[in-house]
Amino acid sequence: MARVTWGLATSHVPSIGAAMDNHKTGDEYWKPLFDGYGPAREWMAQHKPDVAVIVYNDHANAIDLDMVPSFAVGTAATYDVADEGWGRRPVPPVVGAPELSEHLVRELIDAEFDITTCHRLDVDHGLTVPLSVYCREPGDAWPCAVVPVLVNVIQYPQPTAARCYRLGKALGQAIRSFPQDLNVAVFGTGGMSHQLAGARAGLINERFDRMFLEAIEHDPESLAALSREDYIREAGTEGIELIMWLVMRGAMSDKIARVHDTYHVPASNTAAALALFEDLGER
């Protein structure tokens, strides 16, 4: 059977990807953030998963406002890297895990999560930046296959935090019932506090972020109990992306260990964080 081996929560800010693509990670501006990633990257390099299930949101690249699925799962064999309006990131295409995708879709629908499926999906920075956070130098190919899981966070009303947490629980069960001997990592991406538009642009709420970074490990229920209005008020109109960390946390067992975390302001207009957890539940 497949097992969830670790979970990575990470911001997915485009400029974090651009810093890597343009070899600026040693610059004064970026060095503290990338230094902070170091121990997590070393640990992940020694615990390579076969598949990464990456929970992220599209940013007006694969999904237009014609149709907005609340939850969707990629089911393709490969995913192209999106041109978001300024050319594609110079990173390899993403290889899918279609058998696992199909299993997850069926299990999630049986668990009463009515999932939209995507056979064609250009993946944007929301997915590729977390992959680069995991693997700095992929060369010609990423070191693992990927199942994209999409959550609508840009059109209001977004799914509730509680629903995201329950989706994670169902996702974890679905992964653990896949009859192949696979190590699966689950990525929850986005956040932390940030607001891009309006008079509150530039919002950072370190107090909320630190609380969230702590509670995601031991008290995810308290985070699941927050309303979308709470997230928008405290973490900003885009900080509501943090609900996707709850999908990752829900997919992990109750028995997890924090491997590493880091928090840094700013990555362009965002509070950037990483938190890495090992799943000890299956031992």
């Binding site: 007006a60 300024w86 891009l196 919002l203 109109t237 302001v265």
Partner: protein, 114 residues
């Protein structure tokens, strides 16, 4: 230029109001569309069925006006990038700061609203 409200939520009313504007900005994912837009911005706005107010906001780069007319930052940012303007530049526009002031505010820990 339009003065920004605190928060802009892309709810279904905004999505309906901003549909043509967001669709135009979204089309800039395609390099050929970027070329056509740059060649004749006004004609491109007409082809996408923008309202006169939306067209004015696009042509005049009224970034806050675009939000008021239903624009989503993830769409309008594609137009900003075509102009080689950063998210810090837009942050400055929304908050009445220069790009340098806004960038410095972020480097000093961001803007705290308590």
């Amino acid at each position: 230029m339009t003065k920004a409200r605190d928060d802009y939520l892309l709810d279904l009313t905004a999505s309906r109001r901003g549909y043509a504007l967001n669709r135009l900005c979204g089309s800039l994912r395609d390099p050929e569309n970027r070329r056509r837009f740059t060649e004749d911005e006004a004609a491109y706005c007409d082809a996408y069925g923008l309202s006169p107010e939306q067209k004015r906001a696009i042509l005049g780069r009224d970034w806050t006006g675009m939000l008021e007319l239903g624009g989503s930052i993830f769409y309008t940012y594609k137009l900003a990038m075509l102009d080689k303007k950063s998210m810090q530049y837009l942050g400055g526009v929304f908050t009445g700061m220069s790009v340098e002031e806004f960038t410095e505010a972020m480097r000093s820990g961001g803007r705290n609203f308590g």
